[in-house]
């Protein structure tokens, strides 16, 4: 028997790190890993004041939950925590916290990385950077996979042939 404890969610307030710690407590599990993504002050020379996050909330909620479930199955986790904050996240505060626990550390580490990579690729959350000089910019995301980018272009070509 293998029971997994899940805790995922989107929040509009500072993430309560101490409270989350409790979610992974499990006397049968030896290895616990955490990742915090934190707003940092400087990005390529410009001073950042805060990041603000927007999401398709229902979809993001569902995808965080699914991420946790897939990670638990793939990496045999006993516990998974994924929490993402929305709205303004000032410098030094966490926008995302991921925690995993498992019997062995290799699975804990692999799961943390897989969750962060997949979250950054698929969960509908967007980040806007607010600079000290008042400028704001939607953060340029990871390069979109060719396959995804093609679907619009393909349709345009198809349409043009049909004209």
């Amino acid at each position: 028997m293998f029971e997994t404890h899940f805790f995922t969610g989107i929040v509009d307030h500072p993430i309560d790190l101490d409270g989350l710690d409790q979610k992974l407590s499990n006397p049968d599990v030896g290895s616990q890993g955490w990742f915090y993504g934190v707003t940092r002050r400087t990005t390529s020379g410009k001073k950042t004041v805060s990041l603000s996050y927007q999401s398709h909330r229902a979809m993001a909620d569902r995808h965080l939950r699914r991420l946790a479930e897939q990670a638990a199955e793939q990496f045999k986790l006993a516990g998974v925590v994924i929490v993402h904050r929305l709205g303004d996240v000032p410098v030094g505060e966490a926008s995302v916290v991921v925690g995993c626990s498992s019997a062995h550390r290799s699975e804990t580490f692999a799961a943390l990385q897989w969750i962060m990579d997949t979250l950054k690729r698929d969960v509908p959350i967007w980040k806007r950077e607010h600079f000290e000089d008042g400028a704001t910019v939607w953060v340029h995301p990871e390069p979109v996979q060719a396959q995804q980018a093609d679907s619009y272009a393909e349709n345009q070509n198809t349409k043009e042939r049909h004209l």
Partner: protein
């Protein structure tokens, strides 16, 4: 033969929302459009989205779909998802 058209609502987010200046738009498409047709029609009706659209995915009822997927349920929620940048 006359093609029946319907207005479908599409939710916008992040940079797409800023480009259009609205958090949702309506596009005029056939009764059972494919996701690809929705994306194309967004480009037709909102030229300001065109540079962005090649990088976007469409989500139907909170799930990503491929461009061939047909949207049969007129109640389905459609969302234009620009490249995400959470974390």
């Amino acid at each position: 033969m006359k093609t029946e058209l319907a207005n479908r609502r599409v939710l916008l987010f992040a940079i797409a929302r800023d480009l259009v200046g609205a958090d949702e738009v309506f596009v005029s498409v056939g009764l059972e459009p494919s996701a690809g047709e929705i994306l194309l029609q967004l480009g037709e009706e909102f030229p300001e989205l065109r540079v962005l659209l090649p990088t976007c995915r469409l989500a139907v009822d909170c799930e990503y779909v491929s461009s061939e997927t047909l949207i049969k349920d007129t109640e389905s929620e459609l969302a234009l998802i620009p490249p995400v940048s959470g974390g």
